[in-house]
């Protein structure tokens, strides 16, 4: 009886001791749910195996809800240990002093692409560990293109117009071009000159969109696409770019869709959909222009209860074999140089354009353009598609006005 009591007590002490040593790492992210797992279930399992004293408690919070859920926790001194952030949150939360400085003494910081470094640091402090660069370009249904006698995804404006006319003549719908997103990508790829002035100069009001010949030419180029039978502007102007547009491409009835690489996994599941992800046709390059979007990263809030475990979490992701799991599921590129990261699937032409140096960082993803300008681009381009006869100045003045409102 005594032996049993002693054994039970020993077990209880053991359990108590191990429970005391266990750290619950509170992680908030807008990836990791069933719809967008991003490899996190596998990575969490791997992390817990390597760190048996840490248990990861991942809370999925959609990106829109992060704005409502996390700030009260940051301000009340009860933040998550690790939170997912993007450029706007780095600027907002970091600017208010709620994020920890991760320091520059890391291999990953030294390898970080300079353009991404600018986004993830503020006042000399490294506030986030970036996870990915996501491509935005043109999805092309190669089977439909073949029916029109074309076997290569168009990457120049002339190739695009030729493809559109050939497809339309065969009775195939050439392109989805919603004002909300696709038009924005096209105008961006033809308005932002990689060798011209920095988008930041337009974003801070030093330069005016209305006076810029490239943005004027980009709008003129949209009219040329309509003339080449690429799309019916009135029909597509207000098309929902997030639900209806990808669904139309999935159904295999439309040949091209300017959109983001986050759709690759979804499109890959469709039987018989033979597609490629290509860069945006652009007048600035003969290989097309890859529009790179700086994706989210991890940040450690200033008052995190388990900052040490949080740093282990970031160091875990910094190992290429772990980050590659995330990148592979996300079909994204690494924000670090020198890592042997396999390129995303179905993205041959896009990867080729990046390798040729024909890429820009999407200025809405690195805060060079103010956030407010994005909705003005979407609205004004919808209006432009609905009335192509109105002068470019009407549209471009609205962008300048939006920038002015933000100053």
């Amino acid at each position: 009886m005594n032996k049993t009591l002693v054994a039970a007590a020993a077990i209880l002490v053991g359990i108590g001791g191990s429970a005391q040593a266990m750290t619950d790492l509170d992680v908030v992210a807008w990836k990791g749910n069933v719809a967008q797992p991003a490899g996190l279930p596998e990575l969490i399992k791997r992390f817990e195996e390597q760190n048996p004293d840490i248990k990861v408690d991942l809370s999925y919070v959609s990106r829109k809800d992060v704005d409502k859920v996390v700030p009260p926790r940051l301000q009340s001194g009860n933040p998550p240990d690790v939170t997912m952030v993007d450029a706007s949150l780095v600027a907002l939360w970091g600017g208010a002093g709620f994020l920890s400085d991760l320091g520059e003494d890391h291999d990953w910081y030294k390898k970080m692409l300079p353009s991404v470094k600018k986004v993830m640091t503020l006042d000399g402090k490294v506030l986030a560990y970036p996870l990915e660069i996501v491509g935005m370009g043109n999805f092309v249904n190669m089977d439909l293109l073949k029916k029109a006698g074309i076997d290569k995804a168009p990457v120049t404006i002339d190739e695009l117009k030729t493809a559109c006319t050939a497809l339309a003549d065969k009775g195939i719908s050439p392109m989805i071009f919603s004002g909300g997103f696709s038009a924005m990508l096209y105008v961006g790829a033809n308005g932002i000159n990689p060798k011209g002035p920095s988008p930041a100069e337009f974003g801070n009001g030093d330069l005016k969109f209305a006076d810029d010949p490239n943005y004027n030419a980009a709008l003129d180029s949209v009219r040329d696409l309509v003339a080449a039978k690429c799309f019916d502007p009135k029909l597509q102007a207000a098309l929902d770019p997030w639900a209806t547009a990808p669904q139309a491409f999935r159904s295999g009835t439309v040949a091209m869709l300017p959109h983001g690489a986050w759709n690759i996994s979804d499109f890959a599941k469709v039987d018989g959909l033979n597609f490629e992800f290509a860069p945006m046709p652009s007048s600035f390059s003969k290989d097309g222009l890859a529009l790179d979007l700086v994706g989210p990263g991890w940040a450690i809030p200033k008052d995190a209860a388990h900052a040490e475990a949080a740093r282990k979490w970031i160091e875990f992701f910094a190992k290429p074999e772990n980050l590659n799991v995330f990148l592979s599921v996300e079909n994204a590129y690494s924000p670090y140089s020198g890592d042997a990261t396999p390129p995303p699937k179905f993205s041959g032409p896009y990867t080729a354009a990046r390798k040729a140096g024909d890429s820009i960082l999407w200025p809405f993803s690195n805060e060079e353009f103010p956030k407010q300008l994005q909705s003005e681009w979407e609205n004004s381009l919808t209006g432009f598609l609905l009335n192509l006869d109105k002068p470019n100045k009407d549209t471009l003045d609205r962008w300048d006005e939006s920038v002015e409102d933000n100053l």
Binding site: K68, L92, G95, G97, A237, A238, D240, T244, Q372, S375
Partner: protein, 289 residues
């Protein structure tokens, strides 16, 4: 006298709830409307700059106009259709209960579900409405229901009217139930037709029901957010952008809490103004009848 004072004590809990959850937030919002605040960190005083921006940019005045125009369409259509169905069902007691429940069902469905269903119905690419019109040989009537700025606001309004006609119908049916049977009987004995009984006997007696239905639908519609937000996101190019959408976009899309507060204060003034005028007109109408 002491008894009356004791009675006032009982309203203290209600006053506390109203004070803490309604009046205090309005005061806070009013104060915030004079600041530049991103929802986190410190607020900076900017005086009247937020209001100045609202009145110097067409888009916010247009949003206010869209809000009022949408409210007029929805409230008129919702009340006319509700009154129409109520008048018919009042005369058809056999199917009244079933029909009332059937009409009321859409208003019990979540806004989000309704909006997504109608988004697919309105879609220009194989959307249910255009497909049905084409199959019926009415292809000439197919439209870009949510994509044409001249039609979009009516498409969104139709969805809201479809959703809440049962609600107004229920209010008017309650009004009909309150009309004494003898009045209808007298009308019949005098040889009044069904339309004459409705126009000259029932409609005047429905005054209180009309006041309630119009007031409730007006206040509810002025605050409309979910349907236009999901169906059109305020587009195309601002054609369905209401004040509520502007407020949310500024709050959580652009972290402009101070500016969104200024818009909220103006929206509050608009709702109070419309509700006050409407209440006054409808009450006067009731009294004169």
């Amino acid at each position: 006298m002491r008894h009356r004072k004791t009675l006032y004590l009982f309203i203290i809990p209600a006053l506390l709830v109203i004070g803490v959850f309604f009046v205090y937030p309005i005061i806070l919002t009013f104060n915030m409307s004079f600041t530049r605040f991103q929802g986190i960190g410190k607020a900076t005083q900017v005086g009247l700059k937020n209001y100045d921006r609202i009145f110097s940019r067409d888009r916010y005045l247009e949003a206010a106009w869209v809000t009022v125009f949408y409210t007029v369409i929805v409230v008129t259509a919702m009340n006319l259709s509700g009154l129409f169905f109520a008048a018919i069902l009042h005369r058809l007691p056999m199917i009244r209960n079933f029909s009332r429940a059937a009409l009321y069902t859409p208003s019990m469905i979540s806004f989000v579900v309704v909006a997504y269903v109608w988004q697919f119905l309105y879609s220009p690419l194989n959307g249910g409405i255009n497909v049905a019109l084409t199959k019926l040989g009415l292809g000439a009537f197919t439209q870009n229901w949510l994509g044409d700025p001249n039609i979009a606001i009516f498409s969104v309004a139709f969805t809201q009217v479809w959703m809440f006609t049962g609600f107004t119908c229920a209010i008017y049916l309650a009004g009909f139930a309150g009309i004494p049977e003898e009045i209808g009987e007298a009308g019949r004995l005098e040889g009044a037709s069904s339309w004459q009984r409705f126009r000259y006997l029932e409609l005047p007696l429905l005054g209180p029901a009309i006041t309630v239905a119009v007031m409730l639908t007006t206040i509810g519609t002025l605050k409309t957010f979910e349907l236009p937000y999901i169906l059109t996101k305020g587009g195309p190019d601002g054609a369905t952008r209401m004040l509520s959408i502007e407020i949310i976009n500024n709050l959580f899309g652009q972290y402009k809490f101070g500016f969104a507060s200024a818009l909220s204060i103006l929206m509050l003034i608009l709702v109070l103004f419309v509700a006050f005028i409407q209440n006054r007109v409808l009450r006067d109408r009731e009294n004169t009848q």
